[in-house]
């Protein structure tokens, strides 16, 4: 059943050929069988999933619900899930049973999508490999020596290995797109504000966006339809009419102007990645697109700007974890200061501590103007680059990452080169624009993703381009042999 597309599953559910109970059980069995070695789930929720599956079957019998009713989903452990352990990959929240649902979870629950469990991630979404999780690294289903990417590595792995048909992720500097690229699956980070952040544990609030991680663009469109929408509980939620991500999928892309930035194909780009991306661009041309050269001159500034702004926001967002009202508390605190310092120092991992301290430093007296304020100006420049480029083209394409997945343990000692690996994805988060990763081939046996970036509110167009590309290629349908 796990080799069916979600569309096929949905049809069979509505035709009563299969039940949600059977489908959900199938995935729970696969999780039992394979996740021991992959470590992609922090928490599996079999009772909840089955209860929801039964309910979904009733909904379907009554003709209620929608296309995704009865289709199981895995949620990244960054989304608060009512009465379910929600850890954000951290010891700090190892004992945290969320008292409410994030908007994203609430929407999927309302539709009757059984929750299989919560997927593994870099601690507090800080990382690009899922190695910093308190619960240990997740492995890349394509090569167990490789990382699945991060921070949504768990969700990417479950889709790649068929341990869930749909998954949710979050993207602050590339955390949906890069793991999607490393695991050969599809993922989209929507326009900032399109998906409500209510209940999504905050890392860097002006960058964070939740989004779908699926095998195909069509499935991402369906899931985005459920996840997105105005939410009055989030001040940054876009007040706009309900967007239609689905009906334009089938449009052809003749005359589409595809921008290729000259800066993207510089030294440092893996050969295999480069050839796959160029081949993908050629496919788009075959489909009728027109290739246009564009420029993003301030691309280099995005990384330092991001590594000031995101940790600064994070240092403040994570101050609430103090051992007082919930979460980890150290044993026998001697005084208040000891309570705070030990709870936080014992509860947070090394990378989180590092980023909190960098962030606090960037905001501290004497440095605010040189670092924080400066970075905010660079942010505007990076955004303006995109706006200008989109005057010449409809979408911008390139690699998602300069290399395919690296080995577990290979990059974790060198934070700066890990940061540089985010070079393609980060500028998009600074700008707040939507972007996708679409499977586009392999390099030395490890997947490579094509990056598609669009102007604000162009998710439907991006999904359309990806879908058309997926009609003439089958990278997205491939699955590692051991999990078929």
């Amino acid at each position: 059943m796990h080799t069916l597309s979600v569309k096929e599953m949905s049809e069979k559910l509505r035709n009563k050929e299969i039940t949600s109970v059977a489908l959900t059980q199938h995935y729970l069995d696969r999780i039992d069988q394979y996740d021991g070695e992959l470590n992609s789930y922090v928490t599996v929720t079999p009772e909840l999933a089955m209860e929801m599956a039964k309910h979904a079957d009733k909904m379907i019998a009554q003709g209620k619900g929608g296309l995704l009713t009865g289709i199981p989903v895995a949620h990244k452990d960054i989304f608060c899930t009512l009465d379910v352990k929600t850890t954000c990959g951290s010891k700090m929240l190892d004992n945290f049973i969320a008292p409410y649902d994030a908007k994203v979870v609430e929407a999927s629950r309302k539709l009757g999508m059984p929750i299989l469990g919560k997927t593994n991630m870099d601690e507090f979404a800080m990382g690009s490999s899922s190695e910093s999780s308190y619960y240990g690294a997740t492995k890349n289903p394509w090569d167990l020596n490789a990382v699945p990417g991060g921070s949504s590595g768990g969700s990417a792995a479950v889709i790649a290995a068929g341990l869930a048909p749909l998954a949710t992720g979050s993207d602050t500097g590339g955390s949906i797109r890069q793991p999607a690229s490393f695991c050969g699956i599809t993922g989209i980070k929507p326009t900032y504000g399109a998906v409500s952040r209510y209940g999504m544990i905050a890392y860097a609030s002006s960058f964070d966006q939740g989004g779908p991680m699926t095998r195909s663009a069509e499935e991402s469109a369906w899931l985005l339809d459920v996840m997105a929408g105005f939410d009055e509980r989030d001040s940054t939620s876009l007040e706009q009419p309900k967007q239609d991500y689905v009906s334009a999928l089938g449009n052809d892309i003749k005359g589409l102007k595809v921008g290729v930035p000259a800066e993207y194909f510089e030294a440092g780009l893996d050969e295999g990645v480069e050839s796959n991306i160029r081949a993908a661009i050629a496919e788009l041309e075959k489909l009728g697109a027109e290739i246009v050269e564009v420029s993003l001159p301030n691309k280099e500034l995005a990384v330092p700007a991001y590594y000031v702004l995101a940790p600064a926001e994070a240092s403040s967002n994570l101050s609430r974890f103090d051992g007082v009202r919930y979460g980890y508390r150290c044993e026998n605190p001697t005084d208040l200061n000891d309570l705070y310092t030990r709870s936080r120092s014992e509860g947070f991992g090394a990378e989180v501590k590092r980023r909190i301290m960098v962030g606090a430093y960037a905001l501290s007296a004497g440095y605010y103007d040189a670092y924080y304020l400066k970075a905010q100006k660079l942010r505007r420049m990076v955004r303006d680059d995109f706006v200008k480029a989109f005057e010449q083209c409809d979408v911008i394409v390139g690699p998602v990452a300069p290399t395919p997945a690296f080995n577990i343990g290979e990059k974790s000692d060198d934070p700066v080169s890990m940061y540089l690996a985010d070079l393609y994805t980060i500028p998009v988060n600074l700008a707040g624009m939507p972007a996708m990763s679409v499977p586009a081939g392999f390099s030395n046996g490890r997947p490579v993703g094509l990056h598609l970036v669009g102007p604000y509110h162009s998710e439907a167009k991006l999904l359309n381009v990806a879908h058309q590309y997926q009609q003439v290629t089958n990278w997205h349908q491939q699955m590692p042999e051991s999990y078929q």
Binding site: L238, P304, A305, V308, Y326, M357, P415
Partner: protein, 95 residues
């Protein structure tokens, strides 16, 4: 660009995070590496550029002044490491 140990101490205090002696040097070196990235920002001319806090030009939406919340403190305090008589407990603060 390197970070003085005293600066690391100050930030630790502000962030309520302690780094033990074995970690300090490593941490200091790693933070300094990141700060080298920051140096790249200095050279860029941003004289006429306005800082940008949020990517889209949104303004704050307003909420009606109506009570919507009810009391759930018993449920919420199940999550607390230490709570009694409805209050959260911390080691005594001397004012």
């Amino acid at each position: 660009m390197s970070l003085e140990k005293s600066e690391v101490d100050t930030i630790s205090r502000l962030a309520a995070i302690s780094v033990d002696a074995t970690e300090v040097d490593q941490l200091t070196a790693k933070i300094s590496n990141v700060l080298d990235l920051f140096q790249r920002m200095e050279a860029v001319d941003t004289t006429n550029v306005e800082p940008m806090s949020h990517p889209l030009d949104q303004v704050q939406r307003l909420r009606e002044d109506v009570v919507t919340e009810t009391d759930h403190h018993e449920r919420y305090q199940k999550l607390a490491p230490a709570a009694e008589k409805g209050m959260y407990l911390v080691p005594q603060v001397i004012d």
